[in-house]
């Protein structure tokens, strides 16, 4: 039996071929042919959709199951890892090194103005620094205020450039928290989704970006400071 015998150009043949595709009984080659026709032939795609509408209630009651986190990580690395600088940003060794540096620096910078009143809401602090850079920030995240306070310790931005703050959770790609306003101290409001991740202890990093921030939504310039949040 061949496809031509059963699925000629006559409309009924197409309708049955669409039904068989949706039902799932075709072999690999036939499915490949059907799938190409769906992309190329709107009338055939319409037949397939109509059968999907008829049959899809069969699977509607299928129970939900939470996939493990590694699935999303694998998807992200397949889709997004080719972006500029991704090699450095996704390197675990790089972040571990930075985290170790930040812990060493923490003793020095967990300092004066933030430590005064005892608080019930979690408060996290990070010292952001990196080898080969004189840029240092002290960051305090206050869950109650839903903002981070930044104290600019040292290092100047180049003319026409901005510092942008990023959050990195695990091996995920960085999420921008915004351009750091110029000045000795700055406050930045934190989106709710980012708050949750911060509370669980994410890594923060500062990159040098064109004025106004990264045009791509991902870091494009060098990382000038980084560190992870610690409870105080």
């Amino acid at each position: 039996m061949t496809l031509a015998d059963d699925n000629g150009p006559e409309p009924e043949g197409d309708d049955l071929f669409a039904a068989e595709y949706v039902l799932g009984v075709l072999d690999a080659d036939e499915r490949e042919i059907a799938s190409r026709r769906i992309d190329a032939d709107a009338a055939f795609a319409h037949l397939v959709d109509a059968w999907e509408v008829h049959l899809s209630p069969m699977i509607a009651a299928c129970p939900e199951t939470e996939p493990p986190i590694r699935v999303k990580e694998a998807i992200d690395s397949r889709l997004f890892v080719a972006e500029p600088r991704a090699g450095l940003w996704s390197s675990l060794a790089f972040w571990r090194g930075l985290a170790a540096a930040a812990v060493a620096a923490l003793a020095i910078y967990v300092a004066v103005p933030y430590l005064n009143p005892p608080l019930e809401q979690p408060r996290l602090v990070a010292s952001l620094a990196a080898d080969g850079s004189d840029v240092r920030y002290l960051v305090v995240y206050d869950a109650a205020d839903r903002e981070v306070g930044l104290s600019h310790v040292s290092g100047e931005r180049a003319a026409g450039k901005d510092f942008e703050l990023w959050m990195i959770e695990g091996k995920n790609t960085p999420v921008s928290m915004g351009v750091i306003p110029a000045g000795q101290t700055a406050h930045m409001t934190i989106a709710p989704a980012v708050q949750e991740k911060l509370a669980r202890g994410a890594v923060l990093a500062v990159s040098l970006e064109p004025a106004g921030g990264s045009p791509t939504g991902q870091p494009t310039g060098p990382v000038v400071a980084a560190g992870d949040l610690k409870g105080i």
Partner: protein, 179 residues
């Protein structure tokens, strides 16, 4: 999330909006993982399938605009079709028939029992109007990814007979659903 919210996320994903894609994943991955598991019955396999399904959603989200399906049905169709393609690709012909013989009768599956009314109820009502072994063959194909060859082996009939059975069953099923 309403269907409209999901549509919105799919459309934004087609414009390569990563935040929308991440949210779409959070909102729908449990559903689509359930579908992959249901068809593939193997966690490792289902995890790989889910990865590929979301890669497909990222690259082909623009196709949603020309589909007539609801957003969830569209996503579920991608997941189920991908899982079936995977079954076709993975099996050696010999293993294939053994595996088909091992599968329990899907007519007694949880879907059939769990369904109370509405659209889901209707399809099961219409399946019940078919002869029992033909309804089982329809479910085996749709939910377990069994091919004509699998089904012919399991039901002990020639492949052409199975093809005729299923085609007639599909037309009867549609006639019942449109009644």
């Amino acid at each position: 999330m309403t269907p409209r919210d999901i549509s919105n996320l799919i459309v934004r994903t087609s414009m390569k909006d990563r935040a929308a894609f991440d949210l779409l994943y959070r909102q729908t991955s449990a559903k689509l993982f359930g579908v992959c598991l249901r068809v593939l019955k193997d966690r490792g396999d289902a995890e790989e399938a889910l990865q590929e399904v979301f890669v497909k959603i990222w690259t082909k989200a623009d196709r949603f605009a020309v589909s007539e399906l609801s957003p969830i049905s569209w996503l579920v169709a991608i997941a189920r079709n991908h899982a079936i393609d995977r079954i076709r690709a993975r099996r050696e012909p010999a293993a294939y028939i053994d595996a088909a013989l091992d599968v329990a009768d899907p007519a007694a599956g949880p879907e059939a029992a769990a369904v109370a009314g509405g659209e889901s109820g209707r399809i099961h009502h219409c399946l019940d109007e078919l002869e029992k072994d033909r309804a089982a063959a329809v479910r085996g194909a749709y939910l377990d990814g069994e091919s004509y060859a699998d089904l012919a082996a399991r039901h002990g009939v020639p492949l052409n007979t199975m093809r005729t059975w299923l085609r007639r069953s599909l037309l009867k099923l549609r006639e019942c659903l449109e009644r």
